[in-house]
Structures are given as C-alpha cells and as structure tokens.
Amino acid sequence: MNQHVKLNRRAFVIGTATAGAGLALGLDLPFGGPAVVRAADGAPEVNAWVVIRPDDTVVIRIARSEMGQGTLTGLAQLVAEELECDWSKVTTEYPTPGQSVARKRAWGDFSTGGSRGIRTSQDYVRKGGATARMMLIQAAANEWKVPATECKVSNGVITHTSSGKTTTYGKVAEAAARLEPPADVKLKDPKDWTIAGKGLKRLDTVDKTTGKMIYGIDVKLPGMLNAAIKDCPVFGGKVKSFDEAKISGMKGVKKVVPVGDSAVAVVADTWWHAKTALDALPIVWDEGDNAKVSSETIAKWLAEGLDNAQPAYVGNQNGDAKAAIAGAAKKVEAVYSYPYQNHATMEPMNATVLYTPDKCEVWCGTQNGEAAFAAALEASGLPAEKVDVHKLMLGGGFGRRGMTDYVRQAVAIAKQMPGTPVKLLWSREEDMQHGKYHPVTQCKLTGAFDADNNLVALHYRLSGQSILFSVRPEALQNGMDPAAFQGVAQSGEAAIGYSVPNLLVEHSMRNPHVPPGFWRGVNVNHNAIYMECFMDELAQAVGQDPLEFRRKLMGKHPKHLAVLNAVAERIGWGTPAPQGVYRGLAQVMGYGSYVAGAAEISVTDGSKIKVHRIVASTDPGYVVNPAQVERQIAGSFVYGLSALFYGGCTVKDGRIEQANFDTYNSMRINEMPKVEAVMVPSGGFWGGVGEPTIGVAAPAVLNAYFAATGKRIRSFPLRNQNISFA
C-alpha cells in the first residue's frame, strides 16, 4: 500500500473537470489516433480498470475501499478472470475520487458499505476486464494481420493458433490502448471461472505482517504537525470558551484552534504533545438541553412507541393481524430492546490535510472516497479541480468510515494553518464518545395461534431510531424510513422468510439526539434478534421444535429454508448434542444474501456461557473468494457476539458513558470457537457477504441459551444481565 500512495499521488494530474477526458494527464495524440491515457510510470491504460506495463505487470484499478473484508482481492479476481491475465503478475491501485470526477466518474461508485463492494460493481468491472482482453487480442491480431478469432489467450500470453506465433499483454498493451473498445462484450459463465471463485490469497497480506502497511494514522508529510481534538461531549452542544493561555507554553504546542462551533483542537509537533496539552486545556461547554437525556429517558420514550395507539409506519402487511390476534385461541407477547453500539474500529478516526488557497489534499482511510471528497470540497470551499482525497488502508470500517465528520474536522483545522500539513487523530476516548452509533430500538412482538396451534397472526411493532433520518434524510419516504424493516420486509434484498396469514410489521420512529450510523449489519442486527428469538418463543409456546416450527412457515421461501436446512444438517439438529451442550439456530435475509446460523453452547451456574461450536451458512448467489467469505462469516460472529456480550453504549447527562475498551470490551481468542462456514451459492443473483451473517450470530446463541436454561433474555448486552463468557 505504501506503493499505492506514491502511485496515486503521481498517477495522473487532473486537468480541469470541464474539459472532460481530454485533459487527463499523460494524454498523447501522437498521430492523431485515439488518445492513450497513461499511468505515472508511462504504462498505458487499456481502459479505466486495466493498466499493463511492458514487463506484463497488470495493474487493476479498484474504486471500492479495502478495510479487511477482502474486496480489493475479490474485485481484482473478477477483472483478472475476464482479462485472462497471469494472476501472479496482478497488482492493484486506487484511483482517487478527484481523478474519477475529472473523468466523468470513470470508476463509478466508490462507496463501500451495505456489503455492496463486489455485488454492485461486479458487472462493470468484469466488463472492464473482458473489454481489455478483447482489445489486447485485437492488437496482437492486427500486428500479425490475422483475424482476432484465430487468436486465443491464456495467462496473458496471446497465441495465433494456426501459426503458433505468441506475444504477451505487455508487448501489445500500447497498441491495444489505441483501439476503440468493442461494443459487444460477453462475460464468462461463472461455471468456467478459474481465478474468480477460488480461495486465492489476499493481495495485501505481506505488508500487514511486516508493519509496512500504511494506514491513515501512519501518514507522514514534510513539515507535518499533529492535532488532537475534543468535541462537545454532549451531542449538539457547543464550545462556550477555552483558555488557550493555560497551555500556550507547553512543549511542542503550535496553535489552539476552534473547529466548527462544537470542538477545539490543539496542534503540536507530535500528537502526544497535542493530546497532553489538550487534556490540560480548560474548555467550557454549552451543553444545551440534550444534557438532560439519559438511557432511561430514551428507553421510556421508545416504550411509548410500542403502544398501538401511537402512529406508526407500516412496512409489511397482509391480512388483518390486529383482528386475528384479538380473536385468537392463544396469544404470545414479548418486548425486546437493543442498545447503542460503537463501531470501535481498531484504528481511531483520523485524516491528514494539506490546505493552501490553491489546493486541498486529504489523506485518509474512508469507506466512501467520493463522500470524503465532497466533504473536503465543502469544508475547504475550493472547487472540485483543486481538491483530492488519497485513500489509505483502513484499520477497520464496519460502517464508521462511511461518515465524513473526521474529514471535515481535519480540513477545518488545516484551513487555519495554510501550507502546513496537519494530521488529526482522535484519541480512543474521542472515538468511543463521538461515534455514529448502531441505533436504539425496542420491539413488541405479538403472535397468535388458532385452536390447532397454527400461527395465524404476527404483529411486529418496532419503536426507535432511524439511521436514514439522520444520515440520509433524502432516502426517507414521506418522512418514514423503509430501511427500518431490513430483514422483515415484504420483498427485496432483506425480505422476511416466513409466511404468516395475518402479518403487520410497523415502525414508530423516535430519534434521540445520539447520532446513529450504519454499523455492520445495520438494522438487520436487531430485527434478526427480535424475529428469530421470538420465533423460538412461538415454537416453545406450542411445544414444537424450533426448526420444525420455522420450516412450516417457510414453504414459500425456498432459499431462506435451504440455508436453514444447511446449518441444521451440519450441526446435527435432531441428533443428541454432547452432554451438557445445547443448540440454537436462526435465519435471516439481508444484503441480498440468505444466511443461517447455529450454535452449540454450555452454561455454568446459569450465567457463564461457553460457545463450543458455530455453524453458519450463506447463499450469496456467487462466491468470488471462498477463503475470504469464510473469514467474513467468522469475523461477523466475533463482531456480533462482542456486541451481544460486551457492547452497549449508555447515555448519561446527554453523553456516552463508555470511553475505552475497559468499559466497551471486545471478544478475545479464548472466547471464540471455530466457525464452520457452509457456502451454498445457488447462482442467478449477487448478494453481499460482509454483513448478512452478523444477523444470526446473536439469536443463534440466545436461542441456545434458552435451550440450556429455560430463560429468555430480551434486553442487551448480556453483561447487564450478569451473563458472561465462561
């Protein structure tokens, strides 16, 4: 990645956006033929996705961000598959958002969230690879004066079949780059894949084992200073005053600057000096009315939203659930709640900015290069052609780095010190207490049975915070949040897997002042806990096996059912578990993929849980790299179970109480069993991988906990119930 930084900085100098592709640097028009765009080292771009060097090195451009999820490698595999190049000669680089904007968004969407990195760009990146392959073959055919149809390619070596003549991609790339791209491009049938679909090693591992990988926090620029920041601990509050004189003599301190109306930053020679001085800086806050808010007041407000008399937005409905419940032979009701969660990426938020009146450059880890670019544009006040963002490896994202608050702050600081590069780094405490939290919700679920113990109605009433209301209000529909129903929606990429004759799924929106964000799994997390734990409650109420009970409702949902059956079979559902071991399972659909999970646990003294075994299955349509899918599944369980056992951010006096990993803990190796991944890709659609399985992590364990103890836990984290890992 070190190399990427250099490449990106020099790769192309952007011309003015108004003149289109013609001003991308490196353009040459030698004989009036089509233009060739060149990378920094002069190597020709066959197209936006593929650069080939004379030594046959293939540089694949990746617009999405790598944050550990393996998308960088997966996307490269898809391009290389169609390109038919030598995988051992593949390297990658990030185009910058500024370059993309200057070239009419040549690289499409940079956003890396919602488990979309591969599934929403697979089509055009594969076409990029296929188009380049066809141009390279055509260039060789032209040189040999033979029809391209008589040539074939393998591992980047082109052969003219009848004459046996051969050449390589590196030798014809220059000529290929001058050809018009073909209009008709056919993609391979995934059955024929040889590079994609394989568990190839990641492309970024070596630098991550030697300490050479450069993350945003590691950026060094000549003359760079470091900034530490404190934002008002109460969200929505402001800075009233700060006493700069108290710290002006402290070692290394260069400047104390206001950042917006709510934060103060100290700029010093080193970050340690900046942080030390900031801790000594007297700041008076105007905390405002939000200082009266606590977890208790929020919970009370959310509970009011569970009352059917309150207005609610219907997200999924058939039949008349309220009437069916009123006339039912048997009724089951439960209320669940889920707390705020911090992303707690291992690398705290940071960004480095060099601002001059002529140029604003940002170096940072971001899940959305274009959003970071837009933030820098706005915060700097400079036009697009004078702004750019250089993306670096992310020390974790999980949704947090799709936000741009830290970029805006860094630009605001650098703008007060023109010509001096400044790296803004948040302390862990700042990061914990100024997150974009997994939202809080409560849910009242009511199920009703007829006299024959058939489930005839289900009322799923959700009350709580909308992420879109705060983050993307333009995506609301008449002020309502359709994303609130992720995992319990009627149709689409997060559809419910059960058929109930009378169903009502609705949301009463309540938006506390704590800023919410997209947290790995997003609304699937709580919806899957509520629905899947309640399914177990319903099964228990009529004395049925949790798997059989679900199966009866899933006849019209064969893909949901297939993954559930897959975990049931693997974990041995229906066969005796080892002595003292109990099982639970769950299923959900999210991000276009069907997933299920099953857990085997034992419980000591009713409160000490040992997770012995986890099985998780996924049908994401296609699997681009099974080794990385396996890692994403296992990782999603660590993230989801950490939140279940240890997480939970509480609010007191308007601020978040947890400040570091001592009060917001995370699972360690001793607590995590092996996760057995069962991949059952059925083809015909492209689902996501990074997030879906987190949805089944908590309910599978909670249902196993009930099987072991007979106790239902409906409020989280488990530490609040004095339940912990054994």
Binding site: T205, T270, R631
Partner: protein, 149 residues
C-alpha cells in the same frame, strides 16, 4: 532526552521521560508498524518486545525502557529473513484489516520463545489482543503452524 535502543539501533530522541514508548516509537523514531489502539494497555495493538518480553508500549514510558533492547514489528525479521510467525501469518492469510496484527504477531513471537509448542489453552491464556475483524480462527491456526515450523 532519551536514548532508545530499537531494533539494534540506538537513537537519541528529544522527548520527556514520561512519554509513552508507543508515541516515541511512532513519532520520534518514525516506526509506524506499532499501532495505537487504546492507550490504556487493553487492546495490545502496540505490543513490542522489551528485553525479549512482550509489552504494551502505550503503558510504559521512555524513562522506564532506557537502555533496554526494544524490538518492534519492523525489527522482528532477523537479517532480512522473516520470523517464522510472519511466515505462518502469510501462509494462513491471517490479517483482515491488519491494524492489530503487528501487535498480535509480536505477542505470538514472544509466546513461542517461552513456550515453543503452546496448546490451545496456552494460546487462550497468553494471547489477549483485541481484533475487531475477528481473525482469531486464522491466528490460532498460524500459531500452531509456526510452532511446528
């Protein structure tokens, strides 16, 4: 002023004795492979070796380690040859985001020095680093592979 002996090289840095070793390594010596995660010795991302023992460098001061042998991730490979833990890490494709991995690798290298064939329980007791990506499965596999290398 402090003399720091890092990766076999002594560097004089103009800093206060109470500066955490982590920040001296990152900012004054300029070795950024050692990561900041929590600053309170909870997460282990900043793990280095001090006289061969794994320590969380955010929790010790420059004054406390003066004259001692400090090894960071950059100094783990001896004579240009990667440490067996690094090789096992590459073979098992362990890292996801990779941010915690320098500290994880340093903790494991110290463990194997003391306990060349650790059991799963030994690993559970000794390796307490946080990894938010959840690489534990591959970490465990790579520790056993390195032990058997």
């Amino acid at each position: 002023m402090a003399n720091l002996k890092i990766n076999g090289k002594t560097t004089t840095v103009d800093i206060e004795d109470d500066t955490p070793l982590l920040w001296a390594i990152r900012e004054n010596v300029g070795l950024t492979g050692t990561k900041y995660g929590c600053g309170i010795a909870q997460c282990g991302a900043c793990t280095v070796h001090v006289d061969g023992v794994a320590m969380r460098s955010c929790g010790v001061t420059v004054g406390e380690v003066a004259g001692k042998d400090i090894t960071t991730i950059e100094g783990l490979a001896a004579g240009g040859v990667m440490h067996k833990v690094q090789l096992a890490w590459i073979a098992s494709d362990v890292p996801q985001c990779g941010y915690c991995q320098s500290g994880m690798i340093m903790a494991v290298a110290a463990l194997l020095k003391e306990n060349p064939k650790p059991s799963d329980n030994d690993i559970n007791d000794a390796i307490t680093n946080i990894c938010r990506c959840g690489t534990f499965q591959q970490v465990r596999e790579a520790i056993h592979a390195a032990a058997n290398a």
